[in-house]
Symmetry: C2
Amino acid sequence: MAKILAVVSQKGGVGKTTTSVNLAASIAALEMRTLLIGIDPQCGVSSSFNFTSRENKYGIYDLVYYKVPIVEVIIHSEIKFLDVIVSNVKSSSEEDILNQTMKANKFCLKEILAEVVKFYDYIILDCPPSLGAISISTMIAADSILIPVQGEYYSKESLARLLQTAKEVSSMYNPSLTIEGVLLTMVDFRTNLGKKVCEDIRKAMGEKVFSTIIPRTVKLAEAPMIKKPIILSDINSKGAMAYLSLAQEILAKNEER
Amino acid sequence: MAKILAVVSQKGGVGKTTTSVNLAASIAALEMRTLLIGIDPQCGVSSSFNFTSRENKYGIYDLVYYKVPIVEVIIHSEIKFLDVIVSNVKSSSEEDILNQTMKANKFCLKEILAEVVKFYDYIILDCPPSLGAISISTMIAADSILIPVQGEYYSKESLARLLQTAKEVSSMYNPSLTIEGVLLTMVDFRTNLGKKVCEDIRKAMGEKVFSTIIPRTVKLAEAPMIKKPIILSDINSKGAMAYLSLAQEILAKNEER
Ligand SMILES: Nc1ncnc2c1ncn2[C@@H]1O[C@H](COP(=O)(O)OP(=O)(O)OP(=O)(O)O)[C@@H](O)[C@H]1O
Ligand SMILES: Nc1ncnc2c1ncn2[C@@H]1O[C@H](COP(=O)(O)OP(=O)(O)OP(=O)(O)O)[C@@H](O)[C@H]1O
Ligand SMILES: [Mg+2]
Ligand SMILES: [Mg+2]
């Protein structure tokens, strides 16, 4: 039975897509069967790989709205144990339709994933920068949430709002939803700001903060332009090592599954 | 008659709030009467100032949903010519209500701003990271849109989708909507990536790209923690000079108004 992880934050540009893509690739590199799904209508996941237009033909929109069978939508990536479903939403009206469909049936994603949980060890869901219907329905389908926090800016109010929403989702729709952890991303160790945010977060979230910290590196900033997960483009870089260590930390925590 | 500028991008973390706050503060420093409105339910604008809870009492939510008179909601900031309206959305259910209200009456923001355009020279609107009902209704109320593009990552698809949405808004609801310009933000001049993105953007958008480029600086990354626009916390910093030069560029372009 796969562990389903949703990567969520309503704050934009904190590294949700970068974390989803590189964590999924790293878990697959550790030989765990992994499915990465780009739920975010901004198509961040599809622009992180070099899939052909034939491979990208179907995506989350077809799955949820046209009810295309999930096996038609799954793309086998060049990493052995990594499969991907992209978000192929092509316009804001399609985004609106996806939003309305997931608002009308909050459990639609959970029902779709139920068909494939037995084929995978981990399923990673990349969410849009909001706490609207798409993110809510994704949290209903998930076992736990991973919250990226940018190492240069930490807002107590926005973390509190996210935790409150997760609590509401768990009390109303998904009692087993837990917090996998808070991940510090884009941390620049040379500045005082980086050190201060790490301290503030550990004070607020204690044990829940992953010991792995993702540093700000040029190679991770470039990764979307190269259209490859960092473990494929530069396995020895600081970014690749950080995401591999995060994957190991998550596997160790979930070993008893 | 005020010029109404919406700062829009569906990509998260590209510098929409940083640009709205610092551009509004810089235009006010040039002695133009300026109103900054935080439309984004994530409250980015309110966390960029140090307003008291009494001042923050009302916001865009009260304006649009409870129809509180706009003069009750306007906050006079410590910068002489700068007034602010914050987004005081406190939960995801309030965010949903705001979304539904602006979807039901796309012109609600335009009707509200019509009451105050005569009191200001510039009105700056900070949008959420999406192209849903809130951003659409904001583009209907605006004269032009300013599009921040992060200097480390430029996606042709996501810029194309934004331009397409702006074209649809202008053909259906707001024929006078124009593009004020594309602003390169967080540019790191030391890397090849920064230079490549600047070249790609100028190729795609030519004249529409502002000659002012906003560099990536630690002081701008810290600004949300200091809760002050950068021209107040450090007028001599590269970030403050860049936003002042952007303000001058926009005023010069709109001089004939
Ligand atoms: N550790 C890092 N070091 C440097 N740059 C990074 C790092 N992580 C992410 N980035 C860059 O920061 C930008 C934002 O990252 P990303 O798109 O993953 O965030 P997001 O939270 O998914 O954004 P959105 O809210 O739009 O979905 C991208 O340009 C990415 O390349
Ligand atoms: N020029 C800059 N140099 C360094 N850091 C910057 C710069 N501009 C913005 N930042 C930082 O990048 C982060 C994202 O900026 P900001 O919040 O303005 O983006 P946004 O587009 O409004 O995000 P959202 O999509 O969540 O609304 C913030 O932590 C901010 O401090
Ligand atoms: Mg993303
Ligand atoms: Mg913002």
